[in-house]
């Protein structure tokens, strides 16, 4: 007798779920490394600045960015993220943002290690990917956990389309919720699709413009630091 199951819920039509790690990975005396990925303009840099500002007073932070990095960007992070320039490293990706965080992480590993050697001990290093499409994912040899940031202006179909970032990132952030009515995005659809495809993995919907504290993201990060 075939097993009794609901349509779409049998063993061969599972969505892209995977077990969530119960405890933070062993870090052997180095900083926790969290990757921040997501499409161009979704709010990765803004999120990093908000997180840094929220945590800077009691944690030692560093940032490695794969985004094209100018002195303007350094100024932004220094002003809004309360992060001195020495704690920020830029890594060139040779026009291959996916490769640099996933297939060939040597330059990023080098940058993170140099940051820790020169500025350490650090509690947390955030690695920002170069903005790209939905297929990017961080190597587990580079980061311990990853946040994927999408935004409502990218379209409410984005969570449904999936991709390893949307489905497997340890935390999915749907940013710019304040813009939803202006771009005709249905937040209920986005959150619903995201939760369905991610199972027990967390989803956070927020507007960094309306609440720059990024409270739910900061809380999630603090929970990892124990």
């Amino acid at each position: 007798m075939p097993p009794d199951h609901e349509p779409g819920r049998g063993p061969h039509d599972h969505p892209h779920r995977h077990p969530q790690a119960a405890t933070p990975p062993p870090r052997a005396g180095r900083a926790l490394r969290i990757g921040v990925g997501g499409p161009v303009g979704s709010g990765k840099t803004a999120l990093i600045a908000c997180v840094c500002r929220a945590l800077a007073h009691d944690l030692r932070l560093g940032v490695v960015t794969n985004d094209i990095y100018t002195t303007e960007d350094a100024d932004f992070l220094r002003r809004h993220g309360v992060l001195p320039e020495a704690r920020i490293r830029a890594v060139e990706t040779g026009c291959c943002p996916h490769t640099a965080i996933r297939d060939d992480i040597a330059a990023n590993v080098d940058a993170v290690e140099a940051l820790e050697a020169e500025e350490g001990p650090l509690d947390l290093v955030l690695v920002e990917s170069g903005g790209d499409n939905l297929t990017a994912i961080f190597s587990t040899a580079l980061v311990d956990r990853q946040i994927f940031v999408v935004d409502v202006a990218g379209g409410d179909k984005v969570p449904r389309k999936g991709g390893p970032g949307v489905t497997r990132a340890d935390l999915l952030v749907i940013n710019k919720v304040d813009l939803a009515p202006m771009v005709g995005a249905d937040l209920t659809v986005m959150e619903g699709d995201a939760r369905r495809i991610r199972g027990a993995l967390p989803v956070v919907a927020l507007s960094l413009r309306e609440d720059p504290s990024a409270a739910p993201v900061v809380a999630w990060i603090r929970s990892l630091l124990g």
Binding site: E92, A100, A106
Partner: protein, 219 residues
């Protein structure tokens, strides 16, 4: 060990071997910005020049290190390699690439002790090639290949050149085999007599590239 050698050659030739080299353009990015490379023809000229200068030096040292089989302290060999590079930026880039190659390859093949942490690329490649069971001719060819494929790949990304045409150019670049053969033949020479042809424009361009506000490639 003998059976593994062809596979090791493929692994070390593969642009996907994760040494971080993909983020370096071998001077191509600055050449594009300066207008020196803008199409397939100018790319081929650039590649030929690179192989006959940087490739010549890297290949000579790689072949020499394989043949020397550890008799000479590698710090001494690296000093000779560094002396042949006039640009401080390119010496630093070379050391970074050498270090990354050793780190990656060292997790695949056992490397000898007493290897400097960040040798120039030709020296690093010689160490790795020997550890992987390759001969000095293989090492010379690998050195030439990487000096050419780095900028070729960067040109596809920066200029959108036809990738098939670019790979066709690599497949038919005479300098690759000529320089590799010359370097393999020179592996018997005394260390101090190894070649070190330079390209002054590349040295100057590298110094400019490092101070740019926006760089897509690390070098």
């Amino acid at each position: 060990m003998v059976l593994m050698a062809p596979v090791a050659l493929l692994v070390l030739a593969d642009g996907r071997f994760p040494t971080g080299a993909h983020a370096h353009s071998g001077g191509l990015e600055q050449a594009v910005d300066d207008g020196r490379v803008h199409d397939l023809g100018s790319l081929v000229t650039f590649l030929d020049g690179r192989v006959r200068t940087a490739g010549r030096t890297d290949a000579a040292f790689a072949a020499w290190v394989v043949r020397d089989a550890g008799s000479t302290p590698l710090a001494v060999v690296d000093r000779e390699a560094r002396a042949r590079c006039a640009s401080p930026t390119l010496r630093d880039v070379g050391a970074r690439l050498g270090r990354q190659l050793l780190r990656t390859a060292g997790r695949v093949w056992p490397l000898p002790p007493a290897v400097p942490a960040a040798p120039q690329p030709g020296v690093a490649l010689g160490v790795v090639a020997r550890a992987a069971g390759l001969d000095h001719a293989d090492a010379a060819l690998l050195a030439c290949w990487h000096v050419a494929t780095g900028p070729a790949t960067a040109a596809v990304r920066l200029l959108g050149l036809d990738p098939v045409a670019v790979h066709g150019s690599l497949a038919t670049l005479p300098a690759l085999t000529e320089v590799a053969a010359a370097a393999a033949a020179e592996a018997q020479r005394p260390l101090a007599e190894l070649p070190g042809p330079t390209a002054t424009l590349m040295d100057i361009a590298a110094e400019h590239h490092r101070t740019r506000e926006i760089r897509l490639f690390a070098s």
